[in-house]
Amino acid sequence: MSNESNISGAVQRNDWSLQRKGIIDQERHKERVKEAIRKNLGSIVSNEAIILSDGRRTVKVPIRSLDEYKFRFDHRKRKHVGTGDGKTKVGDVIAREGQGQPGQGQGPAGQGGGAEYYEAEVNIDEIAALIFEDLQLPFLEEKAKKAIPAKTTRFNEIRRTGVFSNLDKRRMIMENIKRHARAGGSARFGQVRKEDLRFKSWEDDNRYESNAVVLALMDVSGSMGEFKKYIARSFFFWMVRFLRTKYDNVEIVFISHHTEAREVTEEQFFTQGESGGTVVSSAYQLALEVIRERFRPADWNVYPFHFSDGDNYYSDNEEAVRLADELIRTCNLFGYGEIGEEGGGGYRRSSGALLSIFNDRLKQKDRFIGVRIDDKEDVYPALKQFFGRRGVEA
């Protein structure tokens, strides 16, 4: 048989170390994931997995647009064939919907249920970078006092002398190889001499930043249900993260209120549940006091942000508006977010809710931003509205 002579009895081993195709295409896939994340930031920002990440650096979030679309059958409306353990009878329930359906091993079409989507592993820092790209503290002014320099160190020079901890090994090896090559030998690495050494050297880079304080005010009254609290928390989660990443000296003051307001720690702010009615003016009163005592507007840029469901005591509205006006006068920007019922999309309370009252009665609205949030996906737009580019001096 001619075949026999062709059969090589040897088991081959080749060098595949240059093979990179899978990795290259994996990069292409990652790019797609990134693109998709950028497009889906709205839903990712308020994803539980991230808000409740508890310090984990990467989380899984579902991303719909990464499916490979094909003509396929509706998995849920189709009959499938399976194998049992020998005792299956008509009427046996083999799985429940939503608890991982029995897969079927035939043909690529049958791999998924209707609600299948791609889960991408994302790094929270990367998401944060994407989200914060266009965010900033608006109307930031240079204040007279205490402009604290934000010092950064940049390694931007190479020298022949320096501290050994800053040795640039890569360059050292290059120099060494060059020297050997020059000496007439082959280009190889060997015996290091002093002249091969290269050190990184740095420069101090001082950026001057204005002082800023953000007052996070949150309604924790009884009417703030799970969903509303979640929304407020996700907003403040990103806000705090954003301020800490982008600004070196931003102070954050946490104030929670129901009928009374108190200053709380960050941890309390994010975990506490309370009950009772809502007197918004109490929070504004406390905010004004804090500003007066510790953050005089002459020295500080001040940003109060308040989240509530707007369900204020009727008798308090007058006072709330008056104090809000006062806040606006003393502050760079006053942000108010009103959280509606879950899924209450088109539904707006005509009166009684604080947002409409603010919109009607506030005297200076140029430094007031009010947004309404009815849905998890509204958190990202709210962030963008509060921290959008505004008041940038040319």
Binding site: S8, K21, H29, D74, D85, V90, D92, Q104
Partner: protein, 465 residues
């Protein structure tokens, strides 16, 4: 792996070949190669080494490799259907695993060589895809990576919709002018136009092909071919991309049509061959463990290895004991089956009542939107459902019904509804991709809840009626 182990493996390889040939297996020559895991997963995710680049391959690669890294699943072998064939073995396989894989691969290669559905398969496919890959990167260079990627996204969304029996169709009707040219049958020369001097210019219009797609070949199952030939909007390089994808799909379709039979065949033979090898006790034990892992039922699913293996064993038994056949009759029957059947005919012809019972096969469906419930145990019904699910290798059967719909060069696709409904959300997305290729409004007719439904997409919005 140490050199000594390689030597041992090579010795085993020779032995396995001998046993396989003794059984009457007739594979192409095979080049076996030991590769590291990353390479294994790379070849596995591309199905062929050296194919063009696309993010979906990267996605598959990433998934496979992650599963491997976390110890969730492992590929033991990859086999490439070419002549000579290639069998890739994982470096980290144990000696027994490698022997089993080698025997299994010989089963596959024998099947590739002798099954009728592979008779047209391009056996130099590795070279072909590598040429494709070169052309693809040239297009990426010329037109931009993103442009090519968007086009490929669209083409791949319908890649399975080709006609595997394309080659037995009647000839494309040719225009009279082409016929005349063919009749002349003279090798064209550089100065042929000399002879035309003085002749009246041939009137181009009546003879030239009608620009509109002709209807005489419709309905057309081969969406790729039809769109590639008739799309009003594609440029030449884009048609070329479609042709390349189509050619690669033509190569894969026989494998998709014979998954159960092919895996069953390979498992059947690795078991027979390994039994002949005189393995020491510990290796025998490891082999038994591995083998039972490969051909075991997965509860609630269908394991193609298991199903195919069981049916083949059953065939051998039945024909061995058939009257007048005697011993050897089963073997002969098996070789006939491996030559002429595909999954659909294999199941229809050889899945018996006894097997359905032994394998405890059943039909299940979603009841009240909530519970996946067993609704059928009668063996003929179960078999028919299985066959129907395998038809068109598990994909909906979609045809081009009209390429000039509304007298407006719109594309009208029709789903040949046979009781299973489409996932319309997905179908809409695919229509968007088809629109990218066709460049004009596209329509899809299907059935939802027993009513005919037409999905329309005009490039901006979806409609339905």
């Amino acid at each position: 792996m140490e050199d000594r182990e390689i030597k041992d493996l090579e010795k085993a390889l020779e032995q396995i070949w001998e046993v396989a040939r003794g059984f009457g297996l007739d594979p192409y020559p095979v080049r076996f190669e030991l590769v590291p895991a990353t390479v294994m997963y790379e070849i596995g995710s591309y199905a062929l080494p050296g194919r063009y680049s696309h993010w979906t391959f990267g996605k598959a690669y990433h998934r496979m490799k992650t599963m491997y890294d976390f110890g969730l699943s492992k590929i033991y072998e990859v086999v490439i259907n070419t002549n000579p064939s290639y069998g890739f073995l994982m470096e980290t396989n144990s000696p027994v695993q490698n022997k089993l894989v080698i025997a299994h691969v010989l089963g596959h290669v024998d099947f590739f060589k002798n099954n009728a559905y592979f008779s047209r398969t391009n056996r130099r496919m590795v070279e072909t895809v590598s040429a494709h890959s070169g052309r693809m990167s040239e297009y990426e260079f010329r037109h931009g990576r993103k442009t090519v990627e968007r086009l490929l996204d669209a083409v791949l969304s319908v890649e399975e919709h080709i006609d595997p029996n394309f080659f037995i169709r009647r000839e494309e009707p040719t225009s009279p002018r082409e016929d005349a040219l063919r009749k002349a049958a003279k090798p064209p020369g550089r100065y042929d136009d000399l002879w035309d001097i003085g002749k009246p210019a041939e009137s181009a219009s009546p003879a030239a092909e009608d620009e509109r797609p002709r209807g005489d070949r419709l309905p057309e199952k081969d969406l790729l071919y039809y769109i590639m030939r008739n799309s009003p909007s594609l440029e030449d390089w884009q048609r070329d991309v479609m042709a390349m994808v189509r050619e690669e799909m033509e190569y894969f379709v026989p494998q998709m049509q014979t998954k159960i039979l092919n895996e069953g065949w390979a498992s059947f033979w690795h078991a027979r061959i390994m039994r002949e090898l005189d393995l020491p006790d510990d290796e025998l034990l490891e082999f038994a463990d591995l083998h039972s892992g490969v051909v075991s039922p997965h509860k609630g699913q269908l394991n193609p290895y298991y199903l195919g293996y069981k049916i083949l064993e059953d065939i051998e038994r039945r024909w061995d004991s058939a009257e007048g056949a005697g011993p050897g009759g089963g073997r002969a029957k098996l070789f006939e089956v491996r030559e002429v059947e595909n999954d659909v005919s294999f199941l229809r012809n050889y899945l018996t009542e006894g097997l359905c019972e032994e394998l405890d096969l059943y039909v299940y469906e979603l009841v009240d939107e909530e519970e996946w419930t067993v609704t059928e145990k009668r063996w003929q019904k179960v078999r028919d459902q299985l066959v129907s699910n395998m038809t068109n290798f598990g994909f909906p059967y979609i045809v081009v019904a009209d390429g000039d719909y509304n007298r407006n060069r719109e594309l009208y696709l029709k789903h040949q509804y046979e009781g299973a409904e489409l996932d319309t959300a997905y179908a809409r997305k695919v229509l968007e991709h088809v629109h990218t290729l066709w460049g004009r409004p596209v329509h899809l007719e299907t059935v939802v809840d027993d009513d005919a439904v037409r999905l329309h997409y005009n490039g901006e919005e979806h409609e339905e009626d």
